[in-house]
């Protein structure tokens, strides 16, 4: 299921245009329909809010958050698109290596373990969208998208990050579940806040009095 748009009956023309390129719009529509059959209570054609704000969260519900950052869209996109920048504000990401179109993410898991997430970009619209999905060989199955939209009234950029993890079986799966199912919403909003701090204030706020 694509995450970078909210399934609904009347998406904005701009969003549709973005999606059409990768042929994902059809997928989104299918998802919306199948969901509406599963649970008719959830499907409210006159509700424009993202699904993650639903009162009836389902099992596969992605987590995500939108934040407004007082910087131009292109600057934010460029910083994010250079994945080696991400560990600066994503605490659980230790480092990222990019080989061709595949990125390998080393993530800190509980008890000092490490897990590897391997992803491929499935869609990219410069200055607007980066959508990715885990490769078949990844420890972790996940997909996500970051969208950059102009904020109204010259307030900068609305950055929306959405991610969904599918826990695998086995020990790694359990670890990942702990890491990502219990805390993903919290982790996500903290990472977005740090991204905003870094881009707006040039540094990440801390109340620590010393470096150690």
């Amino acid at each position: 299921m694509p995450l970078h748009r909210t399934p609904r009956t009347g998406p904005e023309p701009r969003t549709l245009a973005l999606l059409a390129g990768a042929g994902l719009a059809a997928g989104a529509a299918v998802w919306a329909v199948s969901r509406s059959r599963e649970n008719p209570v959830v499907f409210r054609p006159n509700d424009d809010a993202p699904d993650r704000a639903s009162r009836h969260p389902g099992g596969t519900m992605p987590v995500g958050r939108t934040i407004t950052i007082n910087r131009p869209r292109s600057e934010l996109f460029a910083f994010w698109r250079d994945f080696s920048n991400l560990p600066q504000f994503m605490e659980s990401v230790e480092h990222v290596t990019v080989v061709g179109d595949v990125s390998r993410w080393t993530l800190a898991a509980p008890f000092g373990r490490k897990v590897t997430l391997e992803t491929r970009i499935v869609e990219e619209v410069p200055d607007r969208l980066i959508a990715w999905r885990s490769t078949d060989g990844s420890d972790v199955r996940a997909e996500g998208a970051v969208t950059f939209r102009d904020a109204p009234a010259g307030r900068g950029t609305e950055v929306e990050a959405v991610v969904a993890y599918v826990p695998a079986g086995g020990e790694a799966g359990r670890l990942i579940a702990r890491l990502f199912r219990l805390v993903p919403a919290m982790q996500g909003r903290r990472e977005l806040r740090r991204f905003k701090m870094l881009m707006e204030a040039g540094e990440i706020a801390t109340s620590r009095n010393r470096k150690d």
Binding site: E191, R193, A201, G202, S207
Partner: protein, 394 residues
């Protein structure tokens, strides 16, 4: 370094902590020369503000000398500065709109999670306050790490004493913003609840802004006397029925604007106060808001309600009907200190504003705990306490 440390309700001690160092590029380290105890510190001392942890360093009114600067600080070593209690990045939407106490970036990413569910939005960082506001080590200490030192601190010219400018950090701009929020028009009658430092500066500011009559309400003779010396008329709420008196003293109209400079721990034996206090004691986040309720009832129709007094939780028996039916306007907030420091420094320099009249006691930092105890329990005599790390014991 030595610093005043919170350990629980009515338990504060001066202890030794590691010296702060530069952590972020925009930081500076200040060696504190003067710091004060604020009415807001009393809410922490009384344990009615949520989110404190044993070992926290308190204090948010402070000034001193710059002793170290990060690579992106614009301060220079040796400069004398007053530091606003609000920590503000200067770059976010709110800072750009001069809403410095609403800064998006100064609270930490993790601690923003504490206030978001409580208030609907994460609040900004403050020095020496709660972990809801970032848990930043405060200024009742020998040294303070000051984030965003290129935006907050104001450099003090030679020739002005510490005591003349120290209150630029909080209560002077707070009193000023309280009067500004009251939307005073020439000749207005303004009633001010509380003749503590904030109330006194609100009275002074209201008169400067053109109020025709200011009526001050408190119970302590010495505090009422300071208010009357500024030019206010007094009401002792232990002796007088406040609502009736205010109507009589404003020609039956009610004050045009009212200012609640009391906050969440109103005194008195009014039935609502007793109930509020009981709930506050069992820790269900209830505010004691007698002054605010009374102010809303007292103000004239279409009047303005300004609330510099601090509230932290929830409130019932709130006269919402009066607010709506009389068509009132309410303005409140932690003070946007950086918005006012420059203008107020100028007014101090020109002799237009005296800030020292309310200081009753000066103590070495080592005796800070005694300062808290007396500022809390001997309010009549102890109107404002200034602590000086360099001062030797009395």
């Amino acid at each position: 370094m030595r610093a005043l440390t919170w350990h629980g309700k009515h338990d504060v001690r001066v202890e030794t902590h590691p010296d702060p160092e530069i952590v972020n590029p925009r930081d500076a380290i200040i060696e504190v020369t003067a710091t004060a105890i604020c009415g807001s510190d009393l809410h922490l001392y009384d344990g009615v503000i949520p989110g404190l942890m044993s070992g926290d360093i308190l204090g948010h009114e402070f000034m001193g000398r710059v002793v170290e600067t990060g690579p992106k600080s614009t301060l220079k070593k040796g400069q004398r500065v007053v530091v606003p209690f609000t920590i503000s990045c200067g770059k976010c939407f709110f800072c750009e709109h001069q809403l410095f106490s609403a800064c998006d970036n100064s609270n930490t990413a993790e601690k923003q999670d504490l206030s978001e569910p409580l208030y609907g939005h994460a609040v900004s960082g403050l020095f020496g306050y709660s972990h809801l506001t970032g848990g930043y080590p405060g200024g009742q200490a020998e040294y303070v790490r000051v984030p965003y030192s290129d935006v907050g601190p104001i450099v003090i010219p030679d020739g002005l004493e510490d005591e003349q400018v120290l209150f630029l950090s909080d209560i002077l701009p707070t009193g000023w913003m309280a009067a500004e929020n009251a939307g005073i028009e020439e000749g207005d009658t303004v009633a001010v609840w509380g003749c503590g430092p904030v109330g006194l500066f609100a009275i002074q500011s209201a008169l400067l802004m053109g109020a025709g009559k200011v009526i001050a309400i408190d119970e302590y003779p010495k505090r009422l006397a300071l208010a009357r010396k500024l030019g206010a008329e007094g009401i002792d709420f232990r002796r007088t029925k406040v609502l009736e008196a205010l109507m009589e003293m404003s020609g039956g109209l009610g004050p045009d604007a009212v200012i609640d400079a009391v906050g969440m721990e109103a005194h008195g034996f009014m039935p609502d106060t007793l109930m509020d206090n009981m709930k506050q004691r069992v820790g269900i986040g209830a505010d004691s808001a007698h002054a605010l309720r009374e102010a809303i009832l007292a103000v004239r129709k279409g009047g303005r309600v300004s609330v510099p007094g601090v509230y932290g939780g929830f409130l019932d028996k709130f006269p919402l009907g009066a607010l709506m039916e009389k068509g009132l306007t309410v303005k409140t907030g932690q003070t946007h200190v950086q918005r006012y420091t420059e203008e107020l420094l100028r007014r101090i320099g020109e002799g237009e504003i005296d800030t020292t009249f309310l200081i009753s006691h000066r103590l070495p930092l080592e005796e800070a705990a005694r300062g808290y105890e007396n500022f809390r329990f001997n309010q009549n005599e102890w109107t404002k306490v200034v602590l000086k790390p360099g001062m030797t014991g009395a």
